[in-house]
Symmetry: C2
Subunit: 166 residues, 2 copies
DNA sequence: TAAAACTTTCAGTAATTACTGAAAATAAAA
DNA sequence: TTTTATTTTCAGTAATTACTGAAAGTTTTA
């Protein structure tokens, strides 16, 4: 399998995977392209590779920068902006986790907590508050856990303990 | 806050949260409705509560049953089917995880593995294979590790060790 | 300061996704 | 078996999401 062929397939794969997890397909494709490109790419390079418009390329690149997955760089003697992706996959995972936590989990937790102020006189409230509390606990825990997992995997001692349990 | 008010708000919240994570919004809403209903509900109950069509209710209920999050029950003297949700949130989380793993992670891993057969003569393949391998390792590990850590969180001894790291 | 090079914005529109509603299928009752 | 109750299916369509392309904005060069 030729490199360019494999790269294109990876871009499709990552795009589809991303959209199944609520991440914009094109954004995931731009990310995949940059992840698998040695050199920094310009907006025009990306437009050409993915056959997307200038607007689309620009918006998705800037969004990737908000997520801290892509950086701007400059090439001497060239006026254009060039883009590179963070290549350390652990860092990528951590930053995606961090961003989703900030955008989605925190507001969710806040809303859930508010919903516990339900009128306790209603007999149905008992089950309701239990469900909400359980979800809160679960989400809170999973949140911490993903963090913990990352830290532990990075730590030789705990990493080896975890591996024993698998 | 009245119960019905809180329940409706929860249904909206869960629907939005679901759709941000690639889960059909209506399916998440039906799930939320059943999670917060003491009694089993009929298709008509659900159509009315969520203001959706019979077709939509039916399709989403059956999908929830495929995910193992909802069961059919019967009421004596009633010909209709009634539905209840699994109320143990831990079970809910495990089943969602299991289903997504089966549908998405496994195919992803398979595709990634295939992409490692890239022509090694191309100098760009080196970075490519490393990226693919890193992603494979990360996804595989997160999969196993989240399971392990969730179990450990429930375990007094390891739980306390983990808490030291947070 | 003006022209050129490049980036950003956004109204209009394309693509995707999932719902509606009615007809067909199935199951239960008479 | 026929009638009635209920569930399932799916073509058409609505809703959502995100892209296009051109104009406006910005920065650099001369």
């Amino acid at each position: 399998m030729k490199f360019t062929e494999a790269q294109l397939e990876f871009i499709q794969l990552w795009g589809n995977f991303g959209s199944q997890w609520g991440i914009n397909k094109t954004m995931a494709q731009v990310h995949a392209l940059l992840l698998t490109s040695e050199d920094a790419l310009s907006t025009d390079d990306i437009m050409e590779s993915l056959a997307i418009s200038r607007g689309g390329a620009n918006v998705n690149l800037r969004e990737l920068m908000v997520w801290n997955l892509v950086y701007k760089t400059a090439k001497p003697g060239d006026r254009k902006e060039f883009f590179v992706a963070e290549k350390d996959i652990w860092e990528v995972a951590k930053r995606i986790t961090r961003e989703r936590q900030r955008r989605e989990i925190e507001p969710l937790m806040h809303h859930l907590n508010r919903l516990k102020n339900v009128d306790e006189a209603d007999p149905q409230s008992l089950n309701f508050v239990k469900t909400i509390t359980d979800i809160e606990r679960l989400v809170g825990r999973m949140n911490k856990t993903s963090d913990t997992v990352m830290k532990m995997e990075e730590n030789a001692f705990f990493g080896s303990i975890i591996r024993l349990l698998k």
